[in-house]
């Protein structure tokens, strides 16, 4: 049977505001599945042209797939969101790149012709499911020295990455973090973020965290606008004595969910759906687990090679800021300035937060907004590092591109 690979597009993406994990966080009494369900419902409301019956798949990522993130959350979230029972779903896990992998996996199926349209997203409630909950690493990892003992502690891998790039100092990382907060605050002030947020009702029964009763969350909780270098300078380096990685130059522990619609371009056009980005290529790469933050570099190399592009063709970057050092290593590798205007225009995870498996779609949603505003840009990429030594990169084409001017 002859097959034609089909163009795949990013139709739309939304997310919940991100919260701080823990008893005082906005989502402390909110279920993880409810977060992703509300994101899916918002997508459907925003895209009335998308007939729910036509959705071929719901792929939802979560790192810790137990409790309210278990039970094949892609399937259960679909039912809870009110999708027809005929719409299937599944769960997916690539830790931090969960939602990104949900997107690329359904995209592959769309390109292959198995699906016309799918929902891809992710959720991580790190308050209800702290990192490492229920893990049981095989003792051979240590006994056979398959990985360094620091590989399971993301902060330590970030310190290791600083070792690999001695020129990336704590000062540079802090400066990057301050800029991320500034850019995020500016993006908020300019209304770039809110349009893709789903308001979430939240209940609080314990007065320690503030007013009790039902409330409504419409903005990211982790943001620290006005952060200065001085603020950051004094923070502890919990992962290494005299280290460089602090709570200020890394993403925090967060709760949140994202969802997107991925479709064949033909389907999107026929159904009057927006085409916000066109998929060019995607790639994953493995690196030593103890320097997992290096992952985006080889992943991007592969993705660029597949697309026949070079780094200079990329006009916009959305790089997940798990740690400032990981972004800086990437930029240093490609000879891009720390404050290059093409990189993370709206700020990043250091400001917004990084609920592990949900973050990939946040990068895409923000890149899609930037594409729309910047039709002179043809290509952009979303990339992130992944626990246990991986990187993930997706290259996108701007459908609004107006040609070189």
């Amino acid at each position: 049977m002859p097959r034609t690979v089909r163009d795949v597009v990013f139709v739309d993406g939304v997310r919940t505001p991100f919260g701080k994990a823990g008893p005082k966080g906005i989502y402390h009494e909110t279920r993880a599945d409810d977060l992703v369900v509300k994101a899916i419902r918002e997508l459907l409301r925003r895209n009335p042209g998308l007939d729910p019956k036509k959705i071929d798949e719901v792929a939802i990522a979560a790192t810790t797939q137990i409790g309210d993130q278990g039970l094949t959350i892609g399937r259960t979230a679909g039912i809870l969101a009110g999708l027809p029972q005929s719409v299937p779903g599944y769960s997916i896990d690539r830790m931090c790149a969960g939602a990104l992998t949900a997107v690329t996996t359904v995209a592959g199926s769309v390109a292959f012709g198995a699906y016309d349209v799918a929902i891809a997203g992710g959720v991580e409630h790190m308050g209800r499911h702290p990192m490492g909950e229920g893990v049981d690493p095989n003792p051979r990892f240590v006994s056979e020295k398959l990985v360094d003992e620091s590989a399971l502690f993301m902060g330590m891998t970030a310190e290791n990455l600083h070792d690999r790039y001695p020129s990336i100092t704590k000062q540079r990382a802090d400066e990057y973090a301050v800029r991320s907060q500034e850019k995020a605050a500016k993006a908020y002030a300019n209304g770039k973020i809110q349009a893709d947020l789903v308001p979430i009702s939240v209940r609080r029964t314990s007065p320690e965290a503030g007013e009790t009763g039902w409330g409504l969350v419409t903005a990211d909780e982790p943001m620290r606008p006005g952060t200065t270098l001085e603020n950051l300078a004094g923070l502890k380096t919990p992962f290494r004595v005299h280290g460089r990685v602090t709570a200020g130059n890394a993403a925090g522990l967060n709760d949140g969910a994202t969802a997107s619609v991925i479709a064949s371009e033909d389907f999107a056009r026929e159904n009057g759906l927006p085409v916000k980005m066109r998929l060019v290529s995607y790639s994953f790469a493995g690196v030593e687990p103890e320097v997992m933050g290096y992952g985006p570099i080889p992943a991007t190399e592969k993705a660029l090679a597949q697309a026949g592009l070079s780094i200079s063709d990329i006009g916009l970057f959305e790089i997940n800021e798990a740690f400032a050092v990981q972004v800086l290593a990437f930029l240093e590798h490609y000879g891009i300035a720390d404050d290059d205007a093409r990189v993370n225009q709206y700020g990043g995870a250091i400001a917004f937060g990084h609920p592990l498996a949900s973050s990939g779609v946040r990068l895409m949603t923000q890149l899609a907004r930037q594409f729309e505003e910047q039709p002179h840009v043809r290509y952009g990429l979303t990339t992130m590092c992944v626990g246990f030594g991986m990187g993930a990169t997706v290259i996108w084409e701007n459908p609004h591109f107006e040609g070189d001017k």
Partner: protein, 709 residues
């Protein structure tokens, strides 16, 4: 302290056991840049199994929350105020336990006024108010929302009602006045009167919206979020709420008249609540809210101090609590599993039982009878009923297939019952026949199997007496129509053991029946009382009182139907049979009416013909009646009948037929449809002084189903 706060503080002191609802106030920015908002969450701190109620301290908490938002609204700090509930529950109204404790008219008045005073403040804030009916909303819960400027409702809301009239009250925190002014008298009457009097029918979220009570409907998954976005749009003027104008002309009077007709047909003027509510609705026509609130206060206070409400609450608690935890039932852990059911007989009653067991237990049910033709007919009936359920969409094809496959019929009891755990007989009502059937069943059934009888009047002990294992025989007496009436009288024979009884109660629970433990006494509870009641009516007719006088005499009780209409429903022949049985047992009190005998012998199915659309005495029956010349007044008839009923209940309690008078009432409510406002019957007999006149004492202590001393 404000007068309202003082009023509520006084009321709260009368009700120390209140489950107190908090009114949490939380502030946040609305979407769309609509401004700062204050949301009040009503929450009693328990999960949804203990719904939020509104006692005096709870009202005081709401009052304090309003103090806070009132100031913020006046100071321009907020743009609106919302009210919502904890997960799955908005608020289910006044706390009935607190109402039961009230002893004085002025305290009752304070409850009504306290609610009004607090809720009215919502309507007077300097900013618009919004109620978000997120979950179950009843009575005072509904009324809080009615005082708000706008309302939204969740499509997932399972139950919404103003059930006050059902209980014997009026919606007295604004419901009677505000609802007709919001949605018109006709719809308000349907909610306040008709739904209440139709077994307290509940509305679903969609209906609440369609009736116009709520201005917007949102799905449950993100109800609060969508409500708040809607709120923002309303506040920004992007959405204008338009409500159809209320017809204040003739339609209003017609609606009230229709409400009176409904009330008459249900309670026959016997219970005051519906009429008081209708009076207030009628007066609300001119839109004078305060006048309406005052009338509500007065009606509430009068009704709270009246017997019908206390009886209503008592009846409600019987059905909701005692009905679910039967008095005297053995430890449920003794119950044995029931994985297959046998039914002896394949007639109509047996087939109905087979269908019920099949639907509720979903285990194999096997019917037996004396020939294949009857068996085929019985199984065919069950299959046809399953198809009806399928046709109505009550079950799907898979379930229909499953149920049909589970029901079988065999001629050979040995084949059918060899592995049955529970075998019920519904054969001809004659001791010899039933003993024979049980002997045959015992010969083939497993040693542990329960042998149950659906007898309505025969002795369970005698039926078991010739068996090797009489300890496993249980009376299991259903009421017709089996699918409709909740009551199941479970009869303990002399030798019935605890395990068998526990199994019977376990099965009853799975059948979703209201089980009452009854001693093996003639005709058990409901039939004994009904037969004594009917017998006395028959007696006065036989002695010379005209039929219509006898019938009208008991109308003030508000029974579901007149005695002779009931006799028609039961079937005169069956009525006669039961009266004969009871006459043999208690010849001094239970008579056998010669006129009834004549009617049965003439093959008549009832006393009335309905050619004119109304019941009229059948001339053929009239010709059969031989009456004496003692003509009583309605009042005299009523006294005789009630005296007889009181005497019989007194004797039954002395005999230990049931544990307490409460069980008698529970039986009459769930097995004979006797009304809540009578509390079954014993609260009424106490209230009217009948009990003391006949038995020398009350059936229930003051305060149990009446205003406490």
């Amino acid at each position: 302290m404000s007068t309202t706060a003082e009023l509520l503080k006084g009321a709260a002191e009368l009700f120390p056991g209140e489950v107190v609802t908090q009114a949490h106030v939380r502030h946040f920015d609305l979407p769309l840049g609509a401004g700062r908002f204050a949301l009040i969450t009503l929450d009693n701190g328990h999960d949804h199994t203990k719904p939020t109620t509104l006692g005096p301290q709870s009202l005081a908490n709401i009052d304090a929350a309003i103090d806070q938002v009132e100031k913020e609204a006046a100071d321009g700090e907020i743009v609106g105020v919302g009210v919502t509930g904890k997960p799955f529950i908005f608020a289910v109204g006044a706390d009935l336990k607190g109402v039961e404790l009230l002893k004085r008219h002025e305290d009752a008045l304070a409850i009504g006024k306290g609610g009004h005073d607090v809720f009215k403040r919502l309507a007077k804030l300097a900013v618009p108010t919004f109620a978000y009916y997120n979950g179950a909303a009843m009575g005072g819960g509904v009324e809080i929302g009615l005082h708000c400027t706008y309302r939204t409702v969740s499509a997932a809301l399972p139950a919404f009602s103003l059930p006050e009239v059902f209980l014997g009250l009026v919606p007295g925190w604004g419901g009677c006045t505000l609802l007709p002014n919001l949605i018109g008298a006709e719809k308000a009457v349907s909610v306040i009167i008709e739904n209440s009097l139709n077994q307290n029918r509940q509305l679903k979220g969609k209906q609440v919206y369609e009736l116009g009570i709520a201005d917007a409907l949102f799905e449950g998954a993100d109800f609060l979020e969508q409500s708040l976005i809607w709120t923002a749009s309303v506040l920004k003027g992007e959405i204008t709420v338009e409500r159809p104008a209320v017809d204040r002309g003739e339609a209003w009077d017609q609606a009230v008249a229709k409400g009176r007709f409904v009330a008459d047909s249900k309670v026959h003027g016997a219970a005051p609540a519906a009429y008081r509510a209708l009076d207030i609705i009628a007066a609300a026509k001119d839109g004078d809210l305060q006048k309406g609130y005052d009338a509500e206060d007065q009606a509430l206070a009068d009704l709270i101090m009246g017997g019908e409400l206390r009886a209503g609450i008592y009846a409600f608690n019987l059905v909701q609590k005692r009905g679910k935890r039967p008095a005297g039932a053995p430890d449920k852990n003794l119950a044995r599993p029931v994985t297959k059911v046998g039914v002896v007989g394949a007639g109509l009653m047996a087939s109905q039982l087979a269908l019920l067991f099949l639907r509720r237990l979903e285990v194999p049910v096997v019917l037996t009878d004396i020939d294949q033709e009857r068996i085929d007919k019985g199984v065919g009936y069950v299959h046809a009923e399953i198809d009806k359920l399928l046709g109505k969409g009550r079950i799907n094809q898979d379930k229909a297939n499953r149920l049909k496959a589970l029901v079988t019929g065999v001629l050979d009891k040995a084949e059918g019952f060899a592995d049955a755990d529970f075998i019920i007989e519904a054969v001809f009502e004659e001791m010899g026949v039933k003993q024979q059937v049980f002997a045959e069943v015992e010969a083939v059934a497993p040693a542990h199997a329960i042998l149950a009888t659906n007898t309505s009047s025969l002795s369970v002990t005698e039926m078991a007496s010739k068996l090797r294992h009489p300890e496993r025989v249980v009376g299991f007496h259903f009421f017709n129509p089996v699918a409709v009436l909740p009551l199941l009288e479970i009869v303990r024979g002399e030798k019935t053991d605890d395990a068998s009884l526990a199994t019977a109660f376990g099965v009853a629970k799975k059948l979703k029946k209201t089980a009452v433990l009854v001693k093996d006494a003639p005709a058990f509870v409901v039939n004994r009382i009904l037969t004594r009641f009917m017998g006395e009516i028959q007696n006065v007719i036989d002695e010379g009182t005209p039929v219509e006088v006898a019938e009208k005499a008991v109308e003030p009780l508000g029974l579901p139907m007149s005695p002779l209409v009931l006799l028609e429903l039961v079937g005169p022949a069956i009525g006669l049979h039961v009266s004969e049985t009871l006459n043999r047992a208690f010849p001094d009190r239970f008579t056998v009416s010669p006129n009834l005998k004549a009617v049965v012998e003439a093959g008549k199915r009832g006393f009335y013909v309905y050619d004119s659309g109304k019941p009229e005495l059948d001339p053929e029956v009239a010709a059969l009646l031989k009456q004496g010349d003692t003509v009583l007044t309605e009042e005299q008839v009523r006294d005789r009948v009630l005296d007889a009923v009181a005497q019989e209940i007194g004797l039954m309690l002395d005999e230990g037929v049931v544990a307490e008078a409460q069980d008698i009432d529970l039986c009459l409510i769930t097995g004979a449809g006797w009304p809540f406002h009578l509390g079954g019957i014993t609260p009424y007999l106490d209230r009217e002084g009948v009990s003391e006149r006949v038995t020398g004492k009350r059936f229930l202590e003051p305060g149990v189903a009446s205003v406490p001393a």
